[in-house]
């Protein structure tokens, strides 16, 4: 039996009295790209926070590589190879691109290696290496955020709203990179609200609504059956 890289079983989570996740079941196979789709407020970002250790679920189980994980901190999970690219990129705007990359070396990877990996995936960052990150375009900031994540040698990558605020051409370019990362054996869970591009690179798709995963399948199945619900005509 192939053990999935990530398995979420019956996960519940709440903010105070408001229950956001109501029994989420999800699996990310090793080396696969899973697109998690759903409308705004479905609980996608909360699920990412629970997986990455930023939010404590109220009940349910979280399995990483066939091991039950409970009460693990975000830093512990990051050191084990679980890396999250949060919504909004979260780069240091007053630091240059190269300084942003060197900061990631605290994870134990040499700074030169980090820079080499970043520039190999995104050659455009080499041109902007001395530019303040706050002055980069949205797509370039996303590239920088992804570069920081890749520099930590992730085994499981969580992407939260990669395409938010970006032009379609940039989104296509970013997802080509995502596909390349997945080809290297990294398992990827990417969350999207408008996800036509994500469906092109995803191996599997899960649809969340109302705090639950309401549909899973391959992209073609989901595209046919839930195009109106998920894509909302915006794709």
């Amino acid at each position: 039996m192939v053990v999935p890289m990530l398995e979420v079983v019956g996960l519940h989570a709440a903010y105070g009295r408001i229950e956001v996740l109501r029994g989420v079941d999800l699996a990310v196979p090793k080396g696969a790209v899973v697109a998690l789709l759903g409308p705004n407020g479905a609980g996608k970002s909360t699920l990412i926070k629970c997986i990455s250790g930023l939010h404590t679920p109220t009940s349910g189980d979280l399995h990483l590589a066939g091991v039950h994980v409970q009460d693990a901190g975000a830093d512990e999970l990051a050191r084990l190879g679980l890396c999250t690219i949060p919504e909004g990129r979260a780069v240091f705007p007053n630091l240059t691109v190269e300084e942003n990359l060197r900061l990631i070396s605290y994870a134990g990877v040499a700074a030169d290696a980090v820079i080499d990996v970043a520039f190999s995936y995104f050659p455009r960052l080499r041109e902007r290496r001395s530019q303040l990150a706050g002055t980069l375009s949205g797509g370039e900031q996303q590239m920088l955020a992804m570069s920081r994540a890749l520099a930590s040698d992730p085994a499981l990558l969580l992407l939260d709203e990669l395409s938010m605020g970006l032009a379609p051409l940039i989104v296509d370019e970013l997802y080509e990179t995502v596909a390349g990362i997945a080809a290297s054996g990294v398992s990827i869970l990417c969350i999207e609200q408008f996800a036509d591009t994500a469906l092109r690179v995803a191996d599997y798709v899960a649809v969340m609504s109302g705090g639950r995963v309401v549909a899973t399948g391959e992209p073609a199945e989901i595209r046919d059956s839930m195009v109106d619900v998920i894509l909302g005509g915006a794709a």
Partner: protein, 524 residues
């Protein structure tokens, strides 16, 4: 007396004594080849089903009316029969009291009506009784039923010349002359009739009620059902016969339909037979012959404009579908089922609704609207009735019978007592002469008792036979204890492990059986 005569008389005496003393086999009464049986038969010449969901009756179809209904049920111990010349279906017929109670009538009126049950029926039961019941509510109608240990019959029908009584294959002879209608021959059980003779004489020929005749009118009909236990066989018969059927005010006419269903069983093999004979069918003057292959049109009296030649299509244009059902003859071992049905006429009035709309219904609606507002419920009901478009399904000539038998169960008799078995079956007289003892039941114990030797093999064989009928072998108990103990220990161990994990591991036990920890994802 001469010696020859003496010898002759002695020979006669000896023969007489021998005949009286020797066991002579009695006359072999035909014993049935079964221990029990169950049989059912029912017949209904005309069955009208009305499907109209707006009728507030919790049954499907919402209304049922059977012109002639005879049913019998019998088994090895009980039997019952019912006959009715106008049966409103089991929902109303059986639950007549509930139907009356729900009509909202005053108690003074509903109580006496409901207590009597549905009036147009006769019932018989055996052994509870009544063994026989008969009634003729109106002249020309006959309802008879009788129940007995070996024969149960039910017969109902209507005929202007009382053909009902003569239709039986083995009807009992009349007991007394009938004082009823002159055309009627004497009917058995006439004294049980509930209708006074004077009324029958005055009423004359009894037609089908005019309200019903607009939909179904028949010249006569007969329904008979019978179960009989004769000659080691159980036989069940049912027969429906109807003649001169007129449907929808003569739009559809049938000259006659006869359906029979016969089943029998001797305990080893069942038999099923029957037949359905058809007459001629006429629809709006167009005459067809109905047979097992469907409808054929031998001639055309009146050609209706706009009606296609195909008879089936012609009927469909009128909303009428006529089906010739296939007879069911099923024999499964000793069980037999037979069902014959003449015709099924399906009248969908939604098709005819367009024609009815041509009638001055609006005048009726106006009259209904003039009713006082106090009768608003009645107004709404009448208004809805104008818009009804029910579906009528008319089954013409239905006969069904079923018979089944069961064999007895061989119950093993208990063996002899252990103390008795241990002793030799033969004893020795004080004088040393062996006395004949009772013959053992086991085969090897059939040693000749006159030999005087103790039949040791009989004792040896009797012990294991008795032991096999007792408790299960003892060796199975230790095994059951061993494996049961292992299962219990495993269960307890699992719970103890979980308990230990909760106490020592801070409650981090995974309910899916996975180990708890922090894996290095890069090394997976």
């Amino acid at each position: 007396m001469r010696p020859f005569a003496l010898k002759f008389v002695l020979a006669i005496l000896v023969a007489g004594l021998a005949g009286g003393l020797l066991p002579v086999p009695a006359h072999a009464e035909a014993e049935p080849g079964f221990s029990g049986y169950s049989a059912e038969a029912s017949a209904s010449p005309i069955q009208l089903d009305v499907y109209e969901p707006t009728i507030p009756v919790p049954a499907t179809p919402q209304l049922r009316l059977m012109l002639g209904y005879a049913t019998v049920e019998a088994d090895s111990s009980l039997s019952s029969g019912r006959a009715s010349f106008l049966w409103p279906g089991d929902f109303v017929g059986e639950g007549f009291r509930s139907v009356i109670d729900n009509l909202g009538l005053p108690d003074e009126l509903s109580e006496p009506i409901g207590e009597r049950g549905y009036p147009l029926q006769v019932n018989s039961r055996h052994p509870a009784g009544p063994q026989r019941q008969a009634d003729e509510p109106v002249p020309g109608t006959v309802m008879r039923t009788s129940a007995g240990a070996e024969r149960t019959t039910a017969r109902a029908g209507y005929s202007s010349n009382c053909e009902v009584e003569r239709s039986g294959e083995d009807e009992q002879p009349p007991e007394s002359p009938s004082p009823g209608t002159p055309e009627l021959p004497s009917l058995p059980g006439r004294s049980e009739s509930s209708t006074p003779a004077s009324e029958r004489q005055d009423s004359g020929e009894c037609p089908i009620p005019p309200q019903l005749a607009a939909l179904v009118d028949v010249g006569g009909y007969i329904a008979t059902s019978e179960t009989a236990l004769t000659g080691g066989d159980v036989v069940t018969r049912s027969r429906s016969e109807v003649s001169d059927v007129q449907l929808l005010g003569g739009l559809v006419t049938l000259s006659g339909v006869t359906a029979t269903a016969v089943t029998g069983s001797d305990g080893a093999k069942g038999k099923a037979s029957g037949s359905a004979d058809y007459g001629r069918l006429s629809v709006a003057g167009q005459t067809f012959t109905v047979g097992p292959d469907g409808l054929t049109a031998p001639g055309r009296k009146v050609r209706l404009p706009g009606i296609p030649d195909d008879p089936a299509k012609a009927l469909e244009r009128l909303g009428i579908t006529i089906t010739v059902p296939r007879p069911d003859r099923t024999v499964s071992g000793d069980k037999a089922i037979s069902r014959s049905e003449g015709l099924i006429v399906d009248v969908d009035t939604t098709v005819l609704r367009d024609w009815l709309d041509a009638l001055p219904i609006e005048l009726l609606a106006e009259l209904i609207n003039r009713l006082p507002d106090e009768a608003s419920e009645l107004k709404s009901l009448l208004g809805a009735a104008l818009q009804l478009s029910p579906r009528f399904v008319i089954h013409v000539g239905t006969a069904a019978s079923t018979v089944d038998t069961v064999q007895g169960i061989d119950i093993p008799l208990p063996g002899p007592e252990p103390g008795v078995d241990a002793e030799p079956p033969t004893g020795t007289a004080p004088g040393g002469t062996p006395e004949p003892g009772p013959a053992p039941e086991t085969g090897s114990a059939a040693a000749p008792a006159s030999t005087g030797e103790p039949p040791a093999p009989a004792v040896a064989n009797a012990v294991p036979e008795r032991a096999s009928a007792g408790l299960p072998p003892l060796f199975s108990m230790p095994g059951a204890l061993l494996f049961g103990g292992i299962a219990l220990a495993s269960l307890a161990g699992g719970y103890l492990r979980k308990l230990g994990g909760l106490v020592l591991g801070g409650g981090v036990v995974c309910q899916h059986g996975l180990r708890t920890g922090l894996p290095d994802l890069r090394k997976v």
